[in-house]
Symmetry: D2
Subunit: 386 residues, 4 copies
């Protein structure tokens, strides 16, 4: 019989940011029960954080190893099924690997980890374990992203020729990491964030979205990365020329010094017959421009939606759905998959989510972008002087 | 100590629409546990619906009276605290009154009931009982609605002169109630919906939003109601001239035959110094037009937000929040209020929600609009003939 | 052989506003030559104004009667063909009537004059004279207004049920007429403006647009007019309930105290099958919402445009056309009509323009709105007290 | 005394496209009289085209050399002052050089010519002649482009860090040049268009706009150009990484295979304190996003506009101005400059226009982009394989 899935969380204690997002996403559909957590490396703080969430103290652990070990030894009808990892990047690999080794499914924040090697180890472990492993590239959970993907997969736009994907933010326009701002400080620290700054934090979202929506792969890149803040060690701004495996061309950029921008992820994909245009900040509309007929704005209200689109919307047309609903779609699809396994049922293939393979792909992107962005001599052409 | 609030639900069984919305809104913040329900007047269906929600059969009741009686007799640490009523309009009064009589807090869908008299009985009962009673005019839960309200309350726009509030929908453009569409059939049936159709269903949202945002009261109205579908007994389209208690003028309209419209609730309020413009379909932006400086677009990302606004947003700027989050703000504020009472703490006055008084106000609006809309002789002036 | 049309102007001297608009509109297509003017009632100022426009002093007249008399006596290959009247409202009737009596075609600013009686005299004179007489309801010159009209005329939306037309401005939010602002002072002066303020100045545009786009007539109105500024004699804000000759309902409003609004004319028309939505401030897009398929945005670039639309656009898709181009369409269509008469050719019926009949219709609207807006006792229903 | 400026035109006969745009732009303000033309290389066609424009046959010439020679010999009060060149690219250099040699001012369509060498010859000739020479990068004529430029020049955004400028079109998505479409055929022909396709035709507009708005210069570029249509000889799609002379980074792209796009030129410029965002398709709004306060939308209606902005707007706020008005600003500023010279007056420095230097700059851009776009080996980094 179908039952709620029991979840433990690594990270996400008091004062954390993304942990609360994960918990709301997990709670929305009533399919998940948060049963335990290693919310902080400080055991007291972990217990206090758990108490805020109405958890009993004995299931608020001091670190992830303790949690996973203890939960693995609980009775089958009590122990967690799934670990949600919401720590900074450098703290993804450890809990993910131990969770897999102990037979737990995993939902891990992005990017997958801090090196491509580590990512591939996780990929290998996931494959051999047969466990469910999701990476929260949450933007792919939006209904209109599903719609765009299906339109392209079904050839509605014809062969894809051009992709423009951009993710500007402005929040690192100042040297915020030199204050005590926690989010800024780990994200600009190579030891915690990995080889890339903006390109890792949000460039990978752009890369993931582009490949997910088009069904294509980035084949070659040429990048220019820069840090505009004195003393900042990682890129805060970068632009990338793209060549896709089918010959399509394009541009990807990610910037955290685009002053005044919020989280303005946008993708445009141009095919032979038409194009799609989707913006995260107005996610409930999908603009479709055609070569030979009027522009359309697809919404969940009317018209020919793909089942994949309809299965990822919860409210009537005109009632906007947002980021938490998209994020919840990742959680829900993971949980439906786990529930189906428990019940021995088939999984609905429309209920997909980003997997460890997407996570590895993101690490490959970071690796290539950083290598490209560091070489300077040959690719640049001077404009003639004034 | 703070604890989760236990909720029972009346209505919202399999196939229902608004019940699922209420449950997601209640679940989002992890403060509410759904413990029981009378999901359907068919006991088997109620149990099956409860099983979908992982409830034990013994707390899935066949009707609301059974539920309230049984829950009232459970031990204090087990019985529900709060009843959520998500049935059609004619089924609000009964469970609301019995719940209040049995000492349970209530969250009731809108409009409050089907007659002004019944509404006043509930108001009176709420006052004498001291219990919490919320009506889900959920649009007032949006952060930018709070911002607009605070700006006006603080005199940023000066004296208010004009209000334009509109709620067009298109879903009743055809005789949908003559098919077996459940939502259409009860909403167009005077026995279930009350004296008004569109004006009751969505006009009251417009009325509530206008009074909430401006802090003013509608003093006089002049209405024209119409039904465009042969055989439809209630208005599906209506326009209302407004005169507010401070002398401001305005227009309110609600229509369900505005073909192609989704849920396009919008309010514009004009004061001496500037105006606000808010649309439910892009709820994360508040447009402010000034008499003597550039137009502003207020978002949760930057700038001077009122604490009331900030307390009703959950995600970083640029990550859209939608209808479920607004709806969840109503639930969360109700629950925080109940929790504070349990703990003997003060309630944060910023965490408001629509009360039984708003519900009564909606019924007064329906009453006046229907009376005005029915008289035809005197108010109309012929244009001279062609 | 086709030749340029020679135009004289009444009003529009130095410091005037609408005169320059008319001149640019007349100049754009190179079909009109401005040959003379009575630009001001002060002969010196008239001559100075004419000199700015490179006119010889002998054709810069001191008043309209002098101009019309003198021009009537010039040789046929020299005298003006057409008089453009760009004075305040109370100065329309005189020059229009004298011009018609002297055999000149007329283009007159709106509203047609200051009383319905005078309007009908002009209408009668136009009919008996056979001359061309245009009223510059310039908004009907926009290509997308033509498109909307043709879509409705061809039944694309089905029977029309609802109209919402609005024209908010904010420029009279303060007592501007108590400064020396020329535009404000005559527009708020009943002796110069006529019986209505905002309703005459811009409400007639809304009325004209609604009837033009839908092909329907307003049958009955119920209005509420108000002046928000102490001492202002004419309405600066008003709302009107509409009943159309086919049973459609609607709302029209015009306001000049809607602080922060520019010239935000917008019309929405709802039929059985879909609706159109057009805004003057983004005039190159026509939003079409359908009952059963995705929303479309019609632009001049692609898709099935009516010939009427295509004949009123001058630039490639995506290059915005604005108010002057719409205004120029009125001038151009008038001139094409006059040229065709001169050459004995048929006039292209797609090249229409607002005529004296539209002008009379506007005066009827003002008359009815003012009568309705003045009666107060019977139509209003009190909301029950708080 | 101020007089109208007399203009001759090279190109722009029947069936041409951009010639009509130039004529409307020249006509709008009533400062220019079209007196002659070499509208076509076919003398009969030239005369017929001139007749359409009400020109006498004797001033409709069979070629530009004939025209310039004949006009140069006319009396001073009759001959043209200014030559407008509206031919395809390869026909710019000849008439421009001969006009300059004969003492005529020139307005030339863009790009300046087909080679950088030729461009520099023209530049040199302009400098030695002292004549006025404008290149119609018309987008810089928009009022909000002026506003953006002035805001940046005055440091309102702080140091500029990032530029994103894009110009997608879709009209060459098919092999239109293989039909008899005149615009497509010359634009895709290296002999007529020059070394670049989309980059020359519209990429130069993007380059010009970026440098004009920011006051910066592109220092280095790295480009990827492509042609998506088999058999097409010039680029129809390209992306360019930018490094500016102050260290700012950015992206420029121009595409004519972006199916469904009209003329969607857009520029975003990010500084330390905020950013501007302007789109040609909604040119009357300038979006300004700030690091620490609400987003603003600057319009001509209210607020602190620079005089440069105000001097380039013609109509009241909310009445949209479009492409022709922007184009007319170029013509008007050229003419005001010529008139001032004739009258011996100072020229208002706010009334600027793109000069031959801008034209040369565009040719340098084409040169560098084509050179960069052709080298492939070194700059690209492979993504690791799937």
């Amino acid at each position: 019989m179908k039952r709620k899935i029991r979840m433990g969380m690594v990270g996400g204690g008091r004062g954390a940011f993304i942990g609360a997002i994960h918990r709301m996403a997990a709670a929305l559909d009533g399919q998940i029960e948060l049963v335990c957590g290693a919310f902080s490396s400080d055991p007291d703080r972990s217990k206090a954080s758990g108490a805020d969430l109405f958890l009993p103290p004995e299931r608020c652990y001091g670190d992830y190893e303790e949690m996973i070990l203890a939960e693995a030894n609980l009775p089958a009808d009590k122990k967690m099924d799934l670990v949600s990892i919401v720590t900074p990047n450098h703290m993804h690999f450890g809990p993910a690997m131990v969770a897999l080794e102990s037979g737990f499914h995993v939902i891990c924040d992005k990017p997958l980890c801090t090196t491509l090697d580590a990512a591939r180890q996780l990929q290998s472990k996931v494959r051999s374990s047969g466990l469910v492993f999701a990476v929260t590239h949450a933007y792919t959970g939006y209904p209109m992203v599903k719609q765009a993907r299906m339109m392209i997969a079904n050839g509605e736009l014809g062969k894809i020729r051009r992709i423009v994907v951009e993710y500007p933010q402005g929040w690192l326009s100042t040297a915020l990491e030199q204050t005590d701002q926690k989010q800024a400080s780990w994200r600009t620290d190579p030891a915690k964030s990995g080889a890339a700054g903006a390109m890792g934090d949000i460039g990978t979202h752009a890369e993931n979205l582009a490949e997910y929506v088009t069904g294509l792969y980035i084949d070659e890149i040429c990048a220019d990365l820069h840090s505009h803040i004195p003393g900042r060690l990682l890129d805060d701004d970068g632009s990338v020329l793209l060549r896709m495996n089918n010959g399509a061309r394009g541009v990807l950029y990610a910037s955290q010094i685009s002053a005044g921008e919020e989280n303005n992820l946008r993708i445009r994909v141009y095919g032979e017959k038409g194009s799609i245009d989707w913006s995260q900040m107005e996610p409930n509309s999908l603009i479709v421009r055609w070569l030979d007929k009027s522009m359309e704005v697809i919404r969940t209200g009317v018209g020919n939606l793909y089942p994949q689109t309809q299965k990822h919307t919860r409210v009537p047309a005109g009632h906007p759905e947002g980021y938490l609903e998209a994020f919840a779609n990742i959680y829900r699809n993971v949980v439906y998959t786990i529930q189906a396994r428990i019940e021995g049922l088939d999984v609905d293939p429309d209920l997909d989510f980003p997997t460890v393979d997407d996570g590895v792909r993101g690490m490959e992107f970071i690796d290539a972008v950083v290598r490209s962005g560091k070489q300077d001599e040959v690719k640049w052409f001077k404009m003639s002087s004034q």
